[in-house]
């Protein structure tokens, strides 16, 4: 066991280094991109906005004003200086102020939105994965049952529909026509967030439609994915041999077919959890849900560098850790992959 621990720590160390490298590169790229796009400097934009509003700005006062704004926004100095300052502040947990909602710190804005997004997306991702994987596994095995064919037809019918159309349809039917669910927000305006039953009920009611749209789409995709993976496995020699040995059908399904298809499916889930933030923009806009997606959308519209960078940072960290999670999980579900590196 001591040997195992040693290998595990070495393996973990190597993966962590890769993980941090990914974060480092990601942060650097997101630092550069908004600064390299011409005409997106927020100080310039603010000055222009003032000028467009008709205010007369004497040319000699524009320059000091711009500089004051740059300083305020943390954008003064050369790119290199900004870069080092950015890292220094980042390690202190400070992402700077939001430009658009100045002077609210970015961290505050993000921490206000993050729980909604994580709650909605992590929950729906896991629920749709579990249902889709189980049904897909069983379907690969019992392909001719009626419910399998109905479900398959349904999944295939839903798949080509663009997500926003599907989401809008749900919204129109259930929020505007039937009026069963509210059309936006995360909870009833006026209720103070707490663990009271009114609040929880309100949250569930508001989250139901976005969650439903995500679960239906996600479940169909996972179902088809698992069914294809698993029906590939049902033709493998060892499954045929298990039938010839007359191993119980339920054992074959569980331990021979689904277990073999699981590594690929689980990798998919972990990677999807990593994309939680980028996958959420459309959902949150359609359902007017106050999560990170809505925040990102407004940040982009307002050239709010610091906020864009903060959200992107969350996303990068999430993807990097999801990948790490896959690397750590795979040896558990697939014994052919081992912490020692090679097989055997």
């Amino acid at each position: 066991m001591g040997g195992f621990l040693k290998f595990f720590i070495r393996y973990l160390g190597a993966r962590l280094i890769v993980c941090f490298l990914v974060i480092f590169v990601g942060v650097t790229i997101t630092f550069l991109i908004p600064r390299l796009i011409p005409g997106s400097n927020p100080a310039e934009i603010a000055v222009r906005r003032l000028q467009m509003a008709g205010a007369y700005l004497p040319p000699e006062s524009v320059e000091p004003m711009r500089e004051a704004l740059l300083k305020l926004y943390g954008l003064e100095g050369s790119m290199i200086e900004q870069y080092f300052r950015y890292w220094r502040e980042l390690l202190k947990g400070n992402l700077g102020p939001s430009f658009a909602s100045f002077p609210t710190p970015v961290v505050v804005l993000i921490s206000r939105s993050l729980p909604w997004t994580v709650g909605l997306l992590a929950l729906t991702a896991v629920v749709s994965w579990v249902i889709g994987t189980l049904l897909g596994g069983v379907a690969s095995y019992r392909g001719k049952r009626l419910w399998v064919r109905v479900f398959e037809m349904f999944s295939n019918a839903v798949r080509p529909i663009p997500y926003y159309i599907f989401a809008l349809t749900l919204l129109i039917i259930f929020a505007y026509v039937l009026r069963w669910f509210p059309a936006g927000g995360a909870f009833q305006v006026g209720i103070v967030p707490s663990f009271s039953s009114t609040f929880v009920k309100s949250v569930i009611k508001h989250g139901f439609l976005p969650a439903l749209s995500l679960i239906i789409i996600g479940m169909g995709a996972w179902f088809l994915n698992m069914r294809n993976l698993a029906s590939g496995v049902t033709h493998e020699d060892f499954v045929i041999f298990a039938h010839q040995m007359k191993i119980k059908e339920s054992t074959i399904l569980k331990n021979y077919v689904m277990k073999t298809a699981m590594p690929a499916q689980l990798t998919g889930l972990a990677l999807q959890l990593g994309t939680v933030f980028s996958g959420t923009i459309i959902t949150e806009i359609v359902f007017n849900y106050p999560g990170l997606g809505t925040l990102a959308f407004t940040a982009i519209m307002q050239s709010d560098y610091n906020l864009i960078m903060g959200i992107t940072l969350c996303s990068i960290v999430a993807v990097a850790f999801a990948t790490l999670l896959v690397d750590l999980l795979l040896p558990f579900v697939d014994p052919r992959i081992q912490y020692t590196g090679g097989a055997g």
Binding site: E236, I240, F241, Q244, N255, V333, D334, A343, G344
Partner: protein
């Protein structure tokens, strides 16, 4: 083992009569039949070792699947039947019935051709044995399984391992251990040694022979290599193009082959000191989708006569020697 159970095992009777099994495949949009098993009959009684020999693609694996009753929508039995009687119970496989499935693994087991990939890659061997025991309602006793592994010359610690951690020969032994765990009376082994080196191959063949002798079971052993047969099999059947062309005791066929194809096969066996050049069989193997009319071997046969191209010869007894040999050839009528 009590005496009665030995008695039961000695009364095993396998009888195949006019078995016909075809694959249905699609070729360029047209459904075609692959006539892979045609009119196969044989009869073995008691504890015997039968070898079925033939070149690649002649339908050996198909015959093995049919004998095991492992048919599906793709491979179906068109005619004839095979009966197993285990003294106390009868099972049959025919176009209309397949009761043999009830006997699978307890009375008859199967070692598939692709044995090296027959083990679940994500399951420890102990769990595979456990699955097998649970599925057949027998208690799993680790000590018994370890003793059983010892019998096939495997160390007990392999139970803790995954299949990919074993060598090819070890995996083959595991499959043999699985196939013999419940002491079936009939074992069908399809090319169990073809993917192994010569030394391992010899060890495994010896093992199979000793299992057959000790357990007094009936073995149906399938191979493309006729040189393996002499020390192993009591009886042999030569298969060509889906048909059995010659059937008889091994010694008889080796000392006096009758069918021209058998003669060719035997002439290819290398012997020490033999300097003559080996002649390949002229012509090409049969296309089982569109086999030649009459005897399926006639296009390659040096003795072909007119009748050979018109009618297929049946497998009939030949009293050319004191042994009971059967041959399907017009030369011996």
């Amino acid at each position: 083992m009590s005496k009665t159970s030995l008695d039961l095992q000695t009364t095993v009777h396998v009888e195949a009569s006019n078995l016909k099994a075809y694959y249905l495949t699609e070729q360029q949009g047209v459904m075609k039949e692959v006539k892979a098993v045609e009119d196969v009959s044989f009869d073995i009684e008691g504890s015997k070792f039968l070898a079925i020999v033939g070149e690649s693609g002649c339908g050996k694996t198909t015959l093995a699947k049919v004998l095991y009753g492992f048919v599906n929508s793709n491979l179906s039995i068109i005619g004839g039947r095979i009966c197993y009687s285990f003294g106390d119970a009868q099972y049959e496989v025919s176009p209309t019935a397949n009761t043999l499935k009830d006997a699978w693994w307890k009375k008859i087991s199967y070692v598939p051709q692709g044995s090296l990939s027959a083990l679940n890659p994500v399951r420890k061997l102990k769990d595979i044995f456990l699955d097998l025991a649970n599925s057949h309602g027998v208690p799993f006793q680790e000590e018994k399984v370890k003793n059983h592994l010892k019998m096939v010359k495997l160390p007990p610690y392999i139970l803790r391992m995954y299949p990919f951690e074993l060598s090819g020969g070890m995996r083959q032994r595991v499959v043999i251990a699985l196939a013999t765990l419940l002491h079936p009376s009939v074992i069908i082994a399809d090319e169990p040694t073809s993917a192994l080196d010569v030394v391992t191959q010899r060890d495994i063949l010896r093992l199979l022979k000793s299992i057959q002798v000790d357990a007094k079971s009936t073995f149906i052993f399938i191979t493309h290599d006729i040189s393996l047969v002499p020390d192993l099999a009591d009886f042999m059947a030569i298969m060509y193009g889906g048909c059995i062309v010659e059937y008889g005791p091994t010694e008889a066929i080796f000392s006096r082959p009758l069918h021209p194809y058998t003669k060719f096969l035997l002439s290819t066996v290398p012997t020490i000191g033999d300097k003559t050049e080996k002649q390949p069989i002229p012509g090409s193997p049969v296309n089982l989708i569109d086999p030649p009319p009459g005897c399926r071997f006639h296009p390659r046969c040096p003795y072909g006569e007119k009748i050979c191209a018109e009618q297929r010869p049946g497998l009939v007894e030949n009293k050319a020697n004191s042994w009971e040999c059967r041959v399907a050839c017009w030369l011996y009528r």
